[in-house]
Symmetry: C2
């Protein structure tokens, strides 16, 4: 294997190449660090001393797109990374990195969106930082949000319910905790954000029908946790559903079998993906959670999800299984196809 | 007052203009948010639900400089923002934003420095994010670190000691808590980081004698808190000592009088500042804390600081006083000069 000398876009694109990069550089230095859910587990948040902690930088291009802007991503993405760990988001940071000359009107719009989105999620932005650099050093604006959360009031009950149905050694849902038999739920239509962004950016003309799904999912997830039986949750951002499920399969050492017919899509997203030759399972979402649940409680969790605005199109799309390795999908015509983890994201700079 | 339409470098430079920007844009949206020490108090960290939480993005140029690199800044700066609140740093995040083609050898050096610096501080990097963008969108690398901390084991005792000497309504040291009579200590020589960086960047030739002071201060600060009597602490980064003390004066509604002769400087920093026509008090430091202490305990705190490697050149440099407004300095020749908050930082992109 040749050791590359320079970083490339694919090293940050959320697929297999990014995982290789992270192992070689990030885990090599920080992988042994502490925590109940430490960095080495590469979950959506770390858990340390009972606190969920996560970070994301948003570099989306363009800044404004159908259904949202960089501000809604910056709040939703970080809130969701906390929520899928079973944490209740408590506070966010907001670190702005701006290029000299950035229009203040745009900044104001973005910050108002962040305020509104945080208010919807019921979380406070409590600390921040602002850096301004020369135009030659940065194009536009990047936003980093980090977030802290505390153990959800429903998490003990959720774990108890899992343990009534099978052995479960974890104290938090996580990527390594899925087991054969768990049902896999997606909380709504797949691929909207990435396709909306790509279409808008490239002028493909689907943007009237396809909007980003960027939204905070913490209230929806609280409803699901209240039911109980959840073993893992993940928001399917960079690399999409294909990447998220392959991470589960690898970390949990289980196969996952999807049923193509059960995956909810917006019709326009499917049409766009067919025309553009991209796989909607590999496209990033910004307001959809994958949820693994013990089979006994899957229907109840689904019902709870469907009772919320964010989850009304939720569906059970498959299950973890010993019958395959990695992720496989039973297609509409009856065959079984492998769902590979994408090497990189087919749509760059979507978040 | 004209309302500017575009952001400028000075809006992010740590001086008075940045404060105006923050009030107009950041506080307008997030200023009412919750916390024991909320965003609105603009301290070095927020305190919410007993957790100290802070964020900073590092955009220093060049990435490698005498005495450190962007990695040592990224750890030290965030550790210090937690420590000066009286918090014990628990965990850090590391969000990398890289340009396509960034040399992996440099990245590796930076990450190793981060690892070593975090290890020195006794804090874990537990969560991270990596984004790679086109060369046209970013020059090199920016790093955001956020940090969480818990209440120092010495903080209750420290606050108790303050209350034995005067009224004190806060539960944490903070920028608004300085009162007339408090002694002002600086933990070491002033101006090293900014001058080292400027000299190296511009090739002025002082770099053999002047090194960045970037270092984590949490162990030193723990020693000082153990003594007790500390009412406020602040690391004097962008805008330097002048900016930090003016923030104290404004937020605490007290004057501060400095004694020029008592301020510790590296001789080469003074020489460089004279030649370059810049005020060392306005230059950023990355490993120096300002500490306000009730007078009864100032000598003991000073002694504790001087017993540490980081604080061996600490000095009492003045006191809070009702005799002036803002910050004034008794000069070597006996006069009193106003120490203005810098409008912006004389040395851009130092952190």
């Amino acid at each position: 294997m040749g050791q590359e000398k320079r970083i490339t876009m694919t090293d940050g694109a959320g697929g297999e190449k990014m995982m290789a990069f992270i192992r070689r550089f990030v885990l090599a230095n920080f992988g042994g660090n502490a925590g109940e859910i430490p960095l080495g587990m590469l979950d959506d948040s770390a858990i340390i001393e009972g606190i969920a902690f996560t970070t994301d930088t948003y570099v989306v291009k363009p800044l404004f797109f159908p259904g949202g802007n960089i501000g809604s991503l910056a709040i939703s993405g970080t809130v969701n990374d906390l929520a899928v760990m079973g944490a209740t988001p408590v506070a966010l940071s907001c670190a702005l990195i701006l290029s000299d000359g950035f229009p203040l009107e745009d900044l104001d719009k973005i910050l108002r969106t962040m305020r509104d989105c945080a208010s919807k999620a019921g979380v406070s932005v409590v600390t921040g930082d602002t850096k301004v650099v020369e135009k030659s050093a940065l194009e536009g604006i990047f936003i980093n949000t980090s977030g802290i959360g505390k153990r959800s009031q429903f998490l003990d009950g959720n774990i108890k319910a899992v343990r009534e149905s099978r052995k479960f050694s974890y104290n938090w849902p996580n990527d390594s905790a899925v087991a054969a038999g768990d049902k896999i739920i997606v909380s709504g239509t797949v691929g909207d954000h990435g396709v909306a962004l790509l279409s808008f950016r490239e002028g493909y003309g689907f943007e009237s029908k396809i909007k980003s799904d960027a939204q905070p999912l913490n209230h929806m997830i609280a409803k699901a946790l209240e039911v109980g039986g959840i073993t893992a949750m993940k928001d399917a951002t960079r690399g999409g559903v294909a990447n998220a499920l392959n991470e589960w399969a690898e970390k949990s050492k289980t196969g996952i079998i999807l049923e193509e017919d059960r995956i909810p899509y917006n019709e326009a997203v499917l049409t766009a993906c067919e025309m553009l030759g991209i796989d909607p399972l590999e496209v990033g979402n910004e307001g959809k959670a994958l949820i693994a649940v013990v089979p006994q409680l899957a229907d109840d969790v689904l019902k709870a999800l469907k009772s919320t605005k964010e989850g009304k199109k939720a569906a059970i799309i498959g299950e973890a299984s010993k019958k395959c390795r990695g992720v496989a999908m039973r297609t509409s015509v009856g065959g079984l196809r492998v769902v590979e983890p994408p090497a990189d994201d087919p749509v760059p700079r979507i978040c």
